[in-house]
Amino acid sequence: MSPELLKIINSMGLWVVAFLMVSIVLIQAGLYVRQALKAAAAIQMPREKCLKGLRAGMITAVGPSLAIVIIMIGMMAVVGAPMTWMRLSIIGAAPTELTAATLGAKAVGVEFGSPQYDLYAFVASNWGMALNDFGWLFVTALFATRLEWVRKKVGGGDPAWLALLTSAAAIGAFAYLMSGNLLAGGPKAIGVVAGGLSMVGFLQLAKRFPGLKEYTLGLAMVVGMFIAAFFAR
């Protein structure tokens, strides 16, 4: 990559553009926290419980966020810090964004990350990522309320069934997510099993020490990860 391009992909203008997008994400999260606290007061849910939920989400996010940080460095070398910052703050995890950026460059006949990767290819990569991310933003903005309508129809006002339905959706989704790793065998399969077993262990432990509960998933994933990494050597 030429020094001029390196300068452009890390230029102030792109930082400002990225900042605007990241701000939208944070503002949305902030508005939802405020609304959730208001709604909690209306349904007589104690503030303490709300903060516990918020904290549990934050604690659980630490491990996966560190994993993102490690992947991120590689992407920064090719599309620069600001665009990596922006794209990894919104929809499209790192592998998705890298694929979209690669396809954009390929469309204009340049290999992503090669010495031929020039400003035009960088622009094309940006179009690739933008057009791809737009797919999810478009569908969600237009159809989320319809999905709520479907959920109400299927849930049908039976709280026990609605609880099972929600849990079954999660069980099905995570059965899918873990099966790829199980079928891969080796340390990945070990990671699935170790993560699952340590989660069961930590949840049992949390019955005796309730303060532990909000850490269980965060702990289980780190334990599972290190067990898998141990066997990967």
Partner: protein
């Protein structure tokens, strides 16, 4: 609709929709700002035909997911969770686990109004942490990698299988029968049949498990009577 439902509709659901749509429309614009900036500043924009080509290329890989993912994950994420998750991304590795943990830690019943509120807070918490993480990394840069010992850096390659196994276990110990029924679906689809595209496998797993759970629920409630 009960009074309580009507109140919740007004205090939560309606504002959630308003906030969601406004922020997502802003994101539509923000998403294309880099392209616009690069055009205004450097005068470079691919011709229309080229943009169309790029769009066809990315959509042929991911297009089905634009539709399948919001539908498949909706029952877990809820309305506000869907607006947040499909703006901030990282759904399987962050939003779903964080929503699940927030609900577990507070002991709310899945699918209830309380769960909807707590899930919103859990997901928002994960957005805050994850955004801080990527922001620090973007600013500090590669120097940050020096903080991680090599073994730890390598270990993070295995966090995803551990997350998936742990969240599965969290739900499956509550509904062991459903858990046992769910596992064969993806194993057969991915391990035996093998030819189905992923965008078919995801909804097949989610809605297949929901259907089996419904059967189980009907059989169990009949037996109870």
């Amino acid at each position: 609709m009960g009074n309580r439902d009507q109140d919740f509709q007004n205090t939560f659901i309606r504002p959630v929709i308003r906030i969601g749509i406004i922020t997502l429309l802003a994101a539509w614009v923000g998403n294309f700002l880099p392209c616009l900036y690069l055009y205004l500043r450097y005068g470079i924009v691919p011709p229309g035909g080229m943009i169309l080509k790029i769009w066809v290329m990315v959509a042929s890989v991911y297009g089905a997911f634009y539709i399948v993912e919001p539908i498949s994950y909706y029952a877990i994420l809820g309305l506000s969770g869907t607006y947040m998750s499909f703006l901030a991304g990282n759904i399987s590795n962050l939003r779903l686990p964080c929503s699940a943990m927030a609900q577990e830690a507070t002991g709310v019943e899945a699918g209830s109004q309380e769960a909807e509120v707590i899930s919103t807070l859990g997901i928002a918490g994960s957005v805050i942490v994850n955004t801080i993480g990527v922001t620090l990394t973007a600013v500090i840069g590669a120097a940050l990698l020096g903080f991680f010992p090599p073994f730890v850096k390598k270990a993070f390659a295995y966090i995803l299988p551990a997350v998936f196994g742990a969240v599965f276990a969290q739900f499956a110990i509550k509904y062991p029968v459903v858990g046992l029924m769910a596992i064969p679906i993806p194993l057969v689809l991915l391990g035996v049949i093998k030819i189905l595209p992923i965008w078919v496998v995801i909804p097949a797993c989610v809605f297949g498990t929901i259907a089996l759970a419904r059967l189980y629920y009907d059989v169990k409630s009949k037996g109870g009577r």
